[in-house]
Symmetry: C2
Subunit: 388 residues, 2 copies
């Protein structure tokens, strides 16, 4: 009788993985604190196209100003000498010296070099001016190391002169199994095409991992061993698809053991994905996932344990019963109603080989093992196939 | 007095954009219907490692079977001749002819070539067998054209022999403005670094747009015109950052007009991002966005009108008042509580130049213009900076 190794639960598995593998968010994160190199804005910045005038002169009642010049963004700061006159100023320009108020074109009429205010409205000193240092002062921490890469972050870093270099993470996806033929080949009756690795690569890419290489190996110990020795030198992470269950030809775990790879765990009390294997090769500082060969199992394990995204919960729209003492991952279609609630429509599948059933799913719900009846309206952790 | 062109509202703008620009989801979508090329699974597929036996013989009470051979995944289907014996079978193998039941290793003891069942449990015909055609029959539509690219979809297409070719979308981001210097340069007091285009490119990349090129142009009509003539030939979409407000040096709209580009709209009743410009060049089949130059405005417009993702709503955790007759986009930090509700913590900013305030935001909430008080618990459309 072949014994399955003692199984841990999904939470123990998660903790062990996080202990050994810091998940790079979207494959990329900010790698250093980003400080303001000067005040932001660096000068009193004009926020509207119009004219800049002296606050005192305006307050004393003047509403008509000869135009003494024009200052666009990108030209050095101007200086108003005749306080009864004005400068035309464009958005982004430094507020000229001697002026403390910007009046937008929409409130003006400009004829023969005279700007007249034709719209009366409450005005205040420094109105339509973005004050120097009001966003950040020189030396302020704008971004902290470890923050995810996103558009605003890259913009902020660029504005202080830092071209953020994302932390890259290189991955090798390895499929094993003699039953597999290439996508462009026509399989014999007993063969299937090599689809898992493509599903895995696409999932990684959608989460920001672009340094991904595919390898296919026959179920042949020496070939797999030779490949491992090279790959463990060259990649941060190896993801094997198949070869970790208890079949006669699933010799990956024993091979890793032989090569001195530390097995962190093998087997999780979950469905699908029970045979998941995770290990660490300290010599080469490589992390290794052995995903089950079934398409659904491999994708569920990949998303649940590696591509884990922001914690999001969704409410079941129908009851589910699952009596086994396992965490149950059920494919769902997701929708967000206008009250801000995420709804999950379960698409239960018969077995983890049933791949096509995933076509209409957005991801899967995680139903805890200590519960067997899951009621409509109850919310559970949702894992999306791709960033929502 | 410079008049702002008549403004449309956010919904009119959205409809106009969708009419002229089919938003490629994540830059990529399935471009053809994907049909099953054969039944799936293509054969009765073994789902557990163990032995395959005759259902009749098992039902008649036999619990001990000499092992007549072993069939792994990838070898042609076997045929059991002596129905009192069994085959060892591995997950993924075709179920051998003459057998209708798979008993897993966990229930067996195998000694001297005899497999004995040592765990009694209810068994049924074809148990642990994934039935031929149970997922899909030859000719079934597995994926519909227009579906988003995701891991499972790519896997499904691969399994039927289709290497999905994503529909690519090429984009040129153009910054204008003499006040801008490169990220690696040290700006003078009146200058700022060119950060918007990097924020925009990163945002596009995070949404799956990888064919993106950056250009920087001085505020110089001929240079901008020459660039446009070339770029409109080479890109699907041009995104201009700055140059569309009403400043003396914002001559993009008039240039486009002169070049025969159709202006779809200019100006939306929203804050920030009021000056957004959108147009179509029918000659070259190019779409053009003129984003406001302010960092916050440009990112808000980009995400609201181009990178619009799945409709997601989030609940305010504090009240907001905004009296102007404009749609108000407010940066928020988002969290999903365990009841499945998305919560939005507003991070109001003083003006659309205040970039650093976005650092801790996850995106922005869309507060409708026909409302001026927005209460805690009310849910509004959420637009994330990056896929959640």
């Amino acid at each position: 009788m072949v014994l399955f190794p003692p199984m841990i639960n999904v939470h123990e598995a998660t903790d062990l993985i996080h202990k050994h593998l810091k998940l790079p968010c979207y494959g990329e994160e900010v790698t250093e604190d980003i400080l303001a190199d000067r005040d932001y804005p660096p000068f009193h910045r004009v926020m509207m196209d119009g004219i800049a005038v002296s606050w005192n002169v305006f307050r004393e009642g003047r509403r008509s100003f000869p135009v003494a010049g024009t200052f666009a963004a990108g030209v050095p700061r101007g200086k108003l000498t005749d306080f009864n006159s004005c400068f035309e100023v464009m958005t982004g320009a430094p507020l000229p010296e001697g002026t403390e108020l910007v009046i937008p074109y929409e409130h003006l009429e400009i004829e023969n070099g005279i700007a007249k205010i034709i719209v009366n409205s409450e005005r205040s000193e420094m109105e339509n001016v973005h004050l120097k240092g009001s966003d950040a002062l020189k030396g302020d921490v704008l971004l902290k190391s470890g923050m995810p890469f996103n558009g605003p972050h890259v913009g902020i870093a660029s504005s202080v002169g830092k071209a953020l270099v994302p932390k890259k993470f290189s991955i090798n996806i390895i499929s094993t199994g003699d039953e597999l033929v290439e996508v462009n080949e026509t399989p014999l009756d007993h063969q299937i095409r090599r689809s898992n690795v493509h599903a895995i690569r696409e999932s990684l890419r959608l989460h920001g991992f672009h340094e991904v290489e595919l390898s296919h190996l026959a179920d042949e110990e020496t070939a797999i061993e030779d490949h491992y020795k090279k790959a463990s030198q060259n990649f941060d992470l190896l993801i094997y698809s198949g070869g970790v269950s208890k079949g006669k030809f699933d010799f990956l775990p024993s091979m890793w053991k032989k090569l001195g790879v530390q097995e962190i765990f093998h087997g999780i009390s979950q469905r699908p994905g029970k045979p998941l294997w995770f290990g660490v090769d300290e010599k080469t500082n490589t992390r290794i996932f052995g995903l089950p060969g079934n398409p659904v199992s491999s994708l569920v394990c990949l998303h649940r344990y590696f591509l884990s995204s922001k914690e999001v919960y969704a409410q079941l729209v129908s009851d589910i019963t699952f009596k086994k003492d396992l965490t149950f991952f059920v494919p769902v279609k997701i929708s967000s109603d206008r009250s801000g609630v995420l709804k999950a429509i379960p698409l239960p599948i018969q077995n983890s080989g049933e791949f096509s059933a995933l076509a209409s799913s957005d991801g899967f719900l995680e139903l805890p093992k200590d519960q067997s009846v899951f009621k409509t309206g109850e919310a559970f952790r949702f894992h999306p196939w791709r960033p929502m």
